[in-house]
Every structure is written in C-alpha cells, then in structure tokens.
C-alpha cells in the first residue's frame, strides 16, 4: 500500500489540490460573472427579444381566438368558402377586437401580406358592432364587404393562424406564399431585399479589396522601416482611426459634393467644365470611397502586426540563394502575410456589411445598405417583424464570419490600435 501524500493538516494532497483548483476556478468565474450578467441583460437579451419578432405571430390566434380553431377544420382546397359557423365566430372576434382595439392592429399586420386587409378590417370592425341576432352572419359580413366572399382572404387567415410565421423571413428574401399556397418569388417590380443583400455584400467586398490594395503597401512599409520612423508614420494611420466617424463622413461630403473641393479642383484645372461637375456623392461611389477611408486602419493594423513577425532573414536567405527580390517576395514574404490579409479582410468585411451612418449620409438611393432598411422598418414603416427578419439574416451572416475569424485569428488574440 502506497502512502498517501498529505498536507500539513492531514488532508490528502490530491484532494487539497483539487479543492484549490476548484476554488480558483470559482474565483475566476466570479470575476467574469458581473460582466457576463451585464452583457446578458443589457445586450444579448434585447437582441433575442427583437429576433423573436421576426417569427412571432401570436396576434392572429389571440385576436381571432374563436375563428382560428374552426378554420383549422375548413378545407381550403375544396374551393368553397368556410361555413356559417366560421363567419359567426369571426363576427364575434371582430366585436371583441373592436372593443379592445386589437382588430385594427391585426388588420395592419395582415396588410403586410395582402394589400387591402387594413381597410377591410377597419370597415368590418366599424359595422360589425351593429350586428345583433342576424339570421346569417355569412350574409351579413358579405353585405358589409364583398371581400369576405373571396377565397384568398380566407386562405390568408388560415395560413396565418399559427402563433409563429415564416412569412417575415419570406418577405425578407422577396418571396411570398401566393393564393394557391405555393412559395414563390414576388413579382419582379416588388423585389427589393435580395438585391439589397447582394449589393451590401458586393460593396463590402469591394471595400475590403480596396482596403487590401491600399493597406498592404503601407503595412509593408511600416513593418520594414526602423521602429523610430514607423512609430511616427503609424500615427498617420491611427489618427483617422481615432477621429470621429461623423467627422470623417462630413469631410468626405465636403470633398465629394458637387460644389465640393475635388470638383472645384477639377474645374480649376480645366479637366471638367463647371456644368459637368462629377456626381460622386449620394451614390455608390460616395459610399465606397468614404467607407474605404473609414475602414482602412482596420486592415493596416492587423497586416502590420503579422508582417512585424516575419523575420527579415527569410527574405535575405531567399535572395542569397539566388531568388530575385520579386521572386523572394512572391514566394516567401507574401505567403507569410496571408493570415494578416485574412484577419484584416474579415474584420473589414464584418464592419462594412453592418454599416449604417456613412451609407445613410452619402449613399443616396443606390449606395444604401441593408442596415438602412432595417432602420427604416423599425422607425418608419413600423413593420417590425420584417425589420427583425432582415436583422436576423444580417446577424447570421456576421456570426458565421465571426466564427471564421475566431478560427483563423482567435478572438483571444484580438488587439486594438
């Protein structure tokens, strides 16, 4: 039997070590807990709460609580309208909904799916109050509005009777369920979000490429200069980084607008006439130029930190073995910087696709991003479900990129300035 090692007070060493380790683990967790709870309450919970709106449809079964169970039994494929019982239940639901003001909210909700529901509900709600003990609710409702005799109206009610709905997500990708129940794309004239996602992604990609092209030589210069000089030059990269986004955006407005500095300069140099001033703002050019400027430091800094770690001896070794400087660069140096390009690109791309302020101010109608439409639905159209669905898709894209970034760089190694 081997003797168990014990501490001075007789506890086996192994247990004691375990205990200490556990205590240390708990201390570590306790240190992180306040922030974790804080982020959970002030940040994560609000976002989750908003995302619920992208599929929440409880308004329909709540307001039409008599009609919905009866509608489940209605066979929409028969081509017939629902029976008298369903009409009677609907009339009751309308009376109740009119009293507690929910019916018009429902009308507005269903109007997102089919134009005209809003007024149908308002009109019906106003008149249904007066219906008492009528022989046939079906006839009465049809008399109020003949739209109640339309199969597609009833089909929509049945389709939307669940407490969750995928239709906000369909709308977010320009699809809808047509009157025959098939999932199809909306008519081309009404398609908007798919193009917008594509545009947001393409412009972000373009901005990322521009920042690589501009950032790579600068990072290379900074990494190869003596520290004293590079420390001075890096301030030129950090200054824009530390300057307010609004300042930089207004600077670009001053530069790019029709009566702006660049146009003035071109007119002065007789390159263009004053009547043909270039339109460089309130379009995609404005967005791309201003955002490339804003995001360039996020490319230069990661590139710089990767290049810093490449020993100059690599290049010397390659050259001593007969490689020309260009070959040495292409075969030795450049491959070593790819992780930096990757890290910088994902960072710039993630930041770019979520941009709101700069596109809103210099983007016009062609240079706006998906974020601008989310804002529009939250504060103007009040179609919060659609806003949330667009947000959910954007968030999913960003999270995927975030995971890739983590795999590549490791969020633990993220550095700033």
């Amino acid at each position: 039997m081997t003797q168990v090692l014990t501490t001075a007070d007789g506890v086996p060493l192994k247990t004691s070590l375990h205990r200490t380790l556990r205590r240390r683990k708990i201390t570590a967790l306790l240190l992180v807990a306040p922030l974790f709870v804080f982020i959970l309450i002030t940040f994560l919970f609000p976002i989750a709460d908003m995302l619920v709106r992208s599929f929440d449809n409880s308004l329909v079964p709540n307001v039409l609580h008599r009609t919905v169970p009866l509608l489940a039994k209605w066979d929409e494929k028969s081509g017939q309208l629902p029976g008298e019982k369903v009409f009677a239940a609907l009339a009751q639901d309308f009376k109740e909904g009119q009293k507690n003001f929910t019916i018009n909210r429902l009308g507005k909700r269903l109007n997102y799916e089919k134009s005209g529901m809003s007024s149908l509900f308002r009109k019906t709600a106003r008149k249904v109050k007066r219906l008492k003990e009528v022989p046939s609710y079906k006839q009465a409702l049809l008399k109020i509005d003949k739209k109640w005799g339309r199969h597609d109206v009833w089909f929509l009610l049945k389709l939307q009777s669940g407490s969750v709905t995928p239709t906000y997500f369909y709308a977010a990708v320009d699809a809808h369920i047509d009157d025959t129940g098939k999932l199809t794309m909306k008519p081309e004239k009404q398609q908007i979000y798919l193009n917008l996602f594509v545009r947001t992604l393409m412009l972000s990609l373009l901005i990322t490429v521009i920042t690589i092209i501009l950032g790579y030589p600068v990072a290379y210069l900074l990494a190869t200069l003596p520290t004293k000089k590079s420390n001075l030059l890096i301030i030129l990269v950090l200054l824009p980084f530390w300057t307010s986004l609004l300042v930089r955006t207004s600077a670009w407005i001053a530069l790019l607008q029709r009566e702006g500095v660049i146009n003035d300069l071109l007119v002065w140099m007789n390159i263009i006439s004053t009547d043909n001033r270039l339109q460089m703002i309130h379009n995609q050019i404005g967005t791309v130029v201003a955002m490339s400027h804003v995001l360039l430091p996020f490319m230069v800094l990661p590139l710089f930190s990767v290049m810093k770690t490449i020993p100059p001896s690599y290049m010397r070794a390659a050259q001593s073995m007969g490689a020309t400087p260009y070959l040495a660069f292409a075969r030795i140096y450049f491959p070593n910087t790819i992780p930096g390009i990757g890290a910088g690109s994902i960072l710039v791309f993630i930041l770019a696709i979520g941009y709101y302020i700069t596109p809103a101010l210099v983007g016009g109608t062609q240079g706006t991003f998906i974020s601008n439409f989310i804002a529009y639905h939250i504060s103007n159209s009040l179609n919060w479900g659609l806003g949330a669905a667009l947000g959910a898709i954007l968030l999913a894209i960003v999270l995927v990129l975030y995971v890739i970034y983590d795999k590549m760089v490791g969020i633990n190694n993220m550095k700033l300035g």
């Binding site: 309450i41 929910t102 507005k108 529901m117 908007i192 009040l382």
Partner: protein, 367 residues
C-alpha cells in the same frame, strides 16, 4: 416586462450615483410636448406654450423634438405600457391608424375643445378638418413646389411642367416616398384629378404612375428631411423641388432666396395634437390642447410660420408676420387662390397600399 428587473436596474444606477435624468420638482408638472423641432416648434412655443405657461404657472412645458420618430416611439411605449409623452404633434394620416389601434385617446370635441369666440361649437368650427376622433387639427400645410426664378427661363405654372424636361430643364427634388408623387405623376399624365385613386387602384394605374415618374427619374434628387429641399434650391443643386410650403416661405421671405412658389395641385395635409393613452399628465395635457387649439392661438401661430389655421374662425384673424411684417394671408396654403387646384390624400387608400407601394417605390429607386 417584469417590474423587479426594472427596479433592480434602476436601483443599481441610482446607487451608482446616476440620478442625472433631472428629477421633476414636486411643485411643477413637467408636461412633455413632442413636436417637429426647428421653426415649427418655435412657432408653437411662441403662440401656445409661452402664454400657456404664463396662465398656468404650475405647469412647465418640456419640448421633445421627436415627432419624426413619433410613430415608432409611441408604438413602442404603448406596447410596453410605459408612455412618457403627454402631447404629441403628428400629421393626420399617421394618427388615423394609431387611433384605430387604440393608442390614442378619443377627444370629445365639443367638451374638450374650446368653441369659437362667437359660440360656434368646435365640431362645427373645425368642420371637415376633423378626420379622426383622436386628432385635434391645428394647421393645414401643403407639399407644393418651389422653383429657382433665375435658373429657369420660364416660370412653371402647372404640375405638368414638373415632368416637362424639355421646357424646364434641370434637376428636381422630390420627397423619397410614393405618396403625392404617384398622384402628381397621374395628374401630369392627364388623369382626371377626381379619379386619381380609382386609377391607382388598378395595377395598370400604378404602372402608369411609375412610368411617368420614370421620365424624370434621372433628373431627380430625393429628399427625406423637410429642411433639404429649400437648401437644395438655394445651393442651385436643383431648379425645382417639392417642399413643405412653410419651409419655402422661409427661404423666400426671410432668406430672400431667388425662389418662387408653384401651387398647382398642392397636396394638403393636417398637422395637430394627439393625446396618447396612458399619458402621465392627462388632465394638464387636455388643458394644454384646449388652450393651444383655440381660435386666437391658431391665428397667432400664423404670425410665425406660413401654415393655415385649421379652424374656420381663425382665418379672418390671421395678420402680419411677427418679424417681417408681411401680410400672411396670401401665403396660406388654404388661400383660395393658392388652393384652386389642390387635393387631400386618400388616407384609407394609403393605409391599405402604403406597405406594398413603399416597397415597390424603393425597388424602383434602387434600379
């Protein structure tokens, strides 16, 4: 939301010494009046709020310029059961849906609103301006056109001229919404103004309106904020622009810009006060609304801004501009000469079609 969470959060913050949000003094009621800001809020302060506070020293009016986000914030507040606004200034079309959804209190016009000085009850004095039981109309404003007198060879006189690039070359500015623009496009395309909504009700009619807009799309700058079109005109970025008439008046009369008005088929709308359900100081809010909407106050407001009073009895009292000394009557959108061709949007038609047409309008813009 569960109260404990809210209390914990608040308690923590207060404990951290963050009671910065200006605790209302017990003696005075802080009445939060939400409006549009800028010259408009200023005119309301001068015409309504200052005399009101003089007459009611126990009430202090706090202005919040959030009307532009009014719909979203009011809806969110109401959904959360946490209304912090007392009186909100909104345009009529927006209030109709809010009223239907039960977010606003209904106003008993003959009881809550002052009669005209001659005793005419409010319902009669406001007449057809009462478009919703929740909405107390204050002013009539119009979205109409301004043009540069020096940059156009001929003065435009009809809505057709807005769409006529040959005789009136140059950029135009239009509001970035489908409302009004579709109506104007159809009228300019020769549709009988009385039948505009019948035409718009058909898919072909909507196509026709967009097709007409297509003809000037390349030459159009789209504005979103009321201050933009006068600025665009003043900078010479555009030669004509749709704009709120009061903003154009300011640019013309106050800033002496070379701009003139073109009133043909001006789009009239109403702006007024609503009382949110659950407003924290309901009684004081009603008192304020009654005071602000009386005959004299509405006539006074026209001294500061060129919007027409919504009460019939105020019209004869409209006098001269307080600073400029100009007679304000010819600048009112309700002046019969200006309003010879005018229309009020069909609120219920737009309630049905705004979502769909806004999406289509945005899709059209993005192309």
């Amino acid at each position: 939301m569960n109260k404990p969470l809210q209390q914990t959060l608040l308690a923590t913050l207060v404990a951290a010494g963050l009671a910065t949000s200006g605790v209302a003094s017990a003696a005075k009621t802080d009445l939060v009046v939400v409006s549009w800001g800028g010259a408009y809020t200023a005119s309301q302060q001068k015409a309504y709020s200052n005399p009101f506070m003089k007459a009611n020293p126990d009430i202090n009016i706090v202005n919040d310029d959030s009307s532009a986000q009014g719909l979203a914030k009011l809806r969110a507040q109401s959904e959360a059961g946490n209304v912090t606004w007392d009186v909100v200034d909104l345009i009529a079309s927006d209030t109709i849906t809010l009223c239907d959804e039960g977010l606003l209190e209904e106003i008993n016009f003959d009881k809550d609103i002052a009669p005209a000085p001659d005793g005419t009850p409010a319902t009669k004095d406001f007449g057809s301006m009462i478009v919703s039981p929740c909405f107390v109309p204050l002013i009539v404003y119009s979205t109409t056109f301004g043009y540069r007198t020096d940059l156009l060879k001929k003065a435009p006189t009809s809505i057709k001229d807005v769409f006529d690039l040959k005789n009136f070359p140059g950029k135009r500015a239009l509001q970035k919404v489908p409302t009004y623009n579709l109506e104007w496009a159809l009228i300019a395309d020769g549709v009988d103004p009385a039948k505009v909504y019948d035409v718009l009700d058909t898919p072909e009619g909507v196509d026709r309106a967009f097709k007409k807009l297509d003809t000037i799309k390349d030459q159009t700058v789209w504005w979103t904020q009321g201050a933009q079109p006068p600025q665009l005109l003043a900078d010479g970025e555009v030669v004509m622009a749709s704009a709120f008439n009061g903003r154009l008046f300011n640019a013309i009369a106050k800033e002496k810009q070379p701009i003139a008005m073109m009133w043909d088929w001006e789009a009239l709308d109403l702006d007024g006060f609503v009382l949110p359900k659950g407003a924290p100081h309901r009684a004081a809010a009603l008192k304020y609304i009654r005071f602000a909407s009386d005959t004299q106050r509405l006539a006074d407001q026209a001294k500061y801004i060129s919007y027409g009073p919504a009460r019939a009895s105020s019209a004869p009292l409209v006098g001269k501009h307080a600073e400029l000394g100009i007679d304000m009557k010819p600048h009112m959108p309700t002046n019969p000469i200006n309003a010879k061709h005018s229309f009020i949007t069909n609120y219920s038609w737009w309630a049905d079609h705004k979502d769909e047409l806004s999406a289509r309008f945005e899709a059209w813009l993005a192309k």
